[in-house]
């Protein structure tokens, strides 16, 4: 197959300790290799910035987003970022594109690729709805995908934890990943989703779940220990209780401390905490609410068992969508906004509410600051993933905006200058002058997410890696991002080249090819669970399906037809 060599690039590949060096990158059969033959196609990077393809380890891109699309025709016409949003007619190559926060599937594939991203992780799907997600996955071109499966309010999970039956818990988790062709374990507002089916919630990790004799803490520990016992490539991926509530800081700290006792099965975190911005609030109400980023960052700087992502807010319209049903109802009532809700039998809750964030409001200005503070106060970039919790904090097409904010104190100060005075004693950002360099930026947007997820072929440019490469029209040795942030932002939004699996999919910001991506999923069931335990689980599940589900057991599992290009990951059995 075709060989390619990328010459004259300034390469950032932190995993392999390459920090802005003029290395050549060789590609063969869709993989990075050590060298290629003389006939290899030469791609001249002309001194530009070269990174591994971007990895978005937490995005809402398939499944629930479709309900948001149906709710929001206004979003389809909205185009604040020309070339990355709004309606664009079909071309000979491309399908029509619409939307900003909730673009159609084709636009999601095209626009992530333009940003130089090549892998995305859908952050929340119930096993029962996974078939829908895979249909959308198949419709999103170019990108590789994977899914995190909701288990934090699942009846089976809570029952087995209540019974103290860790074998059944393990078996069920492995089976649920198989049934949904999912990759990792997601926990949203543990226990709260179950309570929300009664219109209630939990207020901290020690509350009781209404219908099971368990607490959110029990659920977190149970799932984390089983996750490690199964030796899954990703750790548990946690959205804490009390999202978006002033004074939620203690809940977040409690959750972090709780997991200290769990031992990782491999060289990674035991818990990834997602969209930390929404979980770092002090105060008792919106009136005295303020940033708690210093306490969160201090804890994370002193402990190595967890990673987090920012959940950075972007000003303007957003679309909130989460399995945190009670939070969405609260949002809807607070803003008198339209509200959709979905309680998935036995599995989890969910809600969708469109919002808009404005720098003129101190609460939003404070939330915006917190995301940046967290990323800048935590010293080790390998603990931080760049996200906006797309599209909850903002649409992914704003990633260049968020990234440049981390690299330019000047730009941050320009934004802060427009904040209302009521913001200033609530935040510490004005006093933080750290500016991330390209190596740190590469970690937070590719290398760390790949490591955090356990994707060995992603996030780096060493031999054996997938040939996913992003080249931006930025000369790292010549540009001062701190000052020239606008030009850099534009360059990050429209890659000079994006290479996916060895094929050029973007050239000068335009899509040039539409390969189909792979779907990663984890099979910890087939080899990981012994036959007697499988039998015990299936007997129990058959009973539960008869009594409680609205679908036959035999029709439940995602069929192979929905995952035509799978990458099956089999964890080593301990």
């Amino acid at each position: 197959m075709a060989e390619m060599i990328i010459k004259n690039g300034v390469v950032y590949d932190p995993k392999n300790s390459v920090d802005g060096e003029k290395n050549e990158i060789c590609i063969k059969d869709g993989k990075i290799v050590d060298n290629v033959g003389a006939g290899a196609k030469v791609l001249d990077a002309e001194g530009c910035l070269v990174m591994p393809g971007g990895v978005d380890g937490h995005t809402h891109c398939a499944g629930k987003i479709n309900t948001a699309r149906i709710m929001s025709p206004h979003d389809m016409r909205y185009s604040p970022i020309p070339g990355l949003s709004g309606p664009e007619p079909r071309t000979k190559l491309l399908r029509p594109q619409v939307g900003y926060n909730t673009p159609n599937t084709h636009a999601i594939g095209y626009r992530y690729s333009k940003l130089g991203y090549t892998t995305i992780a859908e952050a929340a799907i119930t096993p029962m709805m996974a078939r829908h997600m895979h249909e959308e996955f198949e419709s999103i071109p170019i990108l590789d995908k994977l899914a995190l499966v909701l288990m934090g309010s699942n009846w089976q999970v809570m029952q087995y934890i209540q019974d103290g039956d860790s074998e059944m818990l393990k078996s069920y988790m492995a089976w649920a990943l198989l049934a949904s062709r999912g990759y990792g374990v997601k926990i949203v507002n543990p226990g709260g989703g179950s309570n929300w089916t009664w219109g209630k919630n939990v207020t901290g990790i020690d509350d009781k779940v209404i219908d099971f004799d368990v607490t959110p803490a029990d659920i977190l520990i149970g799932l984390a220990e089983a996750n490690e016992a199964l030796n899954l490539p990703h750790s548990i991926h946690v959205h804490c209780n009390n999202l978006g509530v002033p004074g939620n800081l203690p809940t977040t700290l409690d959750t972090m401390k709780l997991l200290e006792r769990v031992k990782a099965s491999q060289d990674r975190q035991v818990m990834h905490l997602t969209h930390m911005q929404f979980h770092s609030y002090t105060g008792t109400s919106w009136m005295d609410f303020a940033s708690g980023s210093d306490q969160i960052a201090d804890y994370i700087n002193k402990h190595d068992h967890l990673t987090f992502d920012m959940g950075q807010m972007i000003f303007g319209p957003a679309m909130t969508m989460t399995a945190d049903g009670p939070t969405e109802y609260r949002n809807a009532r607070m803003f008198d906004a339209k509200w959709s809700n979905y309680d998935q039998e036995l599995e989890d809750a969910g809600g969708i509410v469109p919002l808009a964030y404005t720098p003129q409001h101190f609460a939003h200005a404070t939330m915006w600051s917190i995301g940046l503070e967290l990323a800048l106060l935590v010293k080790d970039p390998w603990k931080v993933m760049f996200t906006t919790d797309n599209p909850n904090g903002g649409a992914f097409v704003n990633y260049p905006e968020g990234q440049v904010l981390l690299m330019s104190d000047k730009k941050r100060q320009e934004v802060i200058a427009g904040f209302p005075d009521m913001t200033m004693d609530r935040i510490s950002l004005p006093n933080i002058d750290r500016e991330l360099d390209w190596g740190e930026m590469t970690v937070m947007t590719r290398s760390m997410p790949a490591k955090m997820l356990g994707l060995e072929e992603k996030g780096h440019l060493g031999a054996g890696a997938d040939a996913d490469v992003a080249i931006y029209d930025v000369k790292p040795d010549k540009v001062d991002v701190s000052v020239e942030h606008e030009a850099v932002k534009k360059a990050l939004g429209f890659a000079k080249y994006t290479i996916k699996g060895g094929e050029i999919v973007v050239r000068d910001g335009d899509i040039t090819a539409l390969p189909k991506g792979k779907v990663y999923w984890v099979n910890a069931y087939e080899n990981g669970i012994v036959q007697t335990e499988k039998d015990r689980l299936i007997t129990d599940l058959e009973e539960r399906f008869k009594k409680y589900y609205s679908m036959q057991f035999s029709n439940y599992m995602v069929e192979d037809a929905y995952v035509p290009r799978p990458v099956e990951v089999r964890p080593e059995v301990a």
């Binding site: 149906i70 709805m129 249909e135 906004a337 509200w339 809700n341 309680d343 409680y548 679908m551």
Partner: protein, 439 residues
Amino acid sequence: MPVIKDVVCTFCGCLCDDLEVTVEDNKITKVGKACKLGRAKTMGMFLHERIEKPMIRKNGKDSELEECSYDEAITKAAEILVAAKRPISYGWCSTSCEAIEKAVVLAEETGSLFDSTANVCHGPSALATQEKGAPSCSLGTAKNYADLIIFWGCNPVHAHPRHQTRYSTMAKGAFTPNGKKDKKMIVVDPRNTDTAKKADLLLQLNPGTDYVLVEALRAIVNGHADVLPDEIAGIPKATVMEAAEMCKAAKFTVIYFGMGVTQTRGRYKSGDNVSSLVSDLSQTNKVVMIPMRGHYNVTGFGQVAAWEAGFPMALDFSRGVAYYNPGETGTNDVLMRREVDAFITGAADPGAHFPQESIKYLYKIPAIQVDGYANPTTEFSDVVIPAAIAGVECEGTAYRMDSQPIRMKKLIETTFKSDEEILTEIIAKVRELKGEGGA
């Protein structure tokens, strides 16, 4: 005898997936567990008049349909669509999502309008969702939790016969172990329907006053009962008060709503107000709403169109990208305005369900039908392409009324092409005619 278990019924939006179908010599001889409608649908090809061959009219609408080959019919269909300045593609609700995806591509490439049967059905429910949202749940959640069931403007005894035993009033669930004994039932309908006869409370409102009744319930729930007159929508105030009290006493209420809400006076505003009622009640109780979808995969059409192109119905691809303005771009909007010059429909029967003015116009423009059975639409179609029956003769995905996707099975072999195959071939022909080559 080979019995296929857990077959998905492809009649209504219930998508019951527990049917037991006996197949002998490639014939379906028995359908177990299905309701009357489901049995008739699943055995349909042995009961009803099948379109046996592709057919075209060679000399205008008054000439007879003449048998032809698939190739001829598909070529003719592509020619009609390519020649048209403003074609419309309608229906695609009793077929698989895989076929609907192809229908989207065809509409994009021919610059067509693109719409579903929701245009004469639950379209206003989508508009209500766009106004106020859709607080909902899965049918299994409803089964396990709901202790108050409200059927508003729908008649499941006849339209969704197994709904009550599988999902609602008679279903036994985790917190409703005694089924009907653990549940109350309110019916809102101008008629004393067979569903209403079993209700604990019937709100027999005057036709077209649904909005008024929702508004009154909201007033009571929000503590403003004093402002209400003695009679509301033709119902004594005390009865409406009783209904509101039942809502407040229930732990989990599901409002199932049908055409009585969406296609009566008030239209989408009634649905919008039901959503507001749900939001109001949710401050103290758990309440959700679920539309009683008719065509088994009309929900799937909305899903596929939304993820592929951004909008759930009434799409207009004439600008190369979907434009959406229901009221302007809905099928009956453009037919009434005599705006379109070619029509393709599949897996739906506009001939039986559209207003007369629309049908009259359909007699004047070239029309293409893709369907398994002859029906009133066949009478005005110039090209008739027979299709395999999804869920019986070919597999694929369908979405239940609660947006739950289920994979339909193939039960018997067929020589008919599937909707997906037919659409794929029309797309290829369109590309050929437009000189765009086969991608």
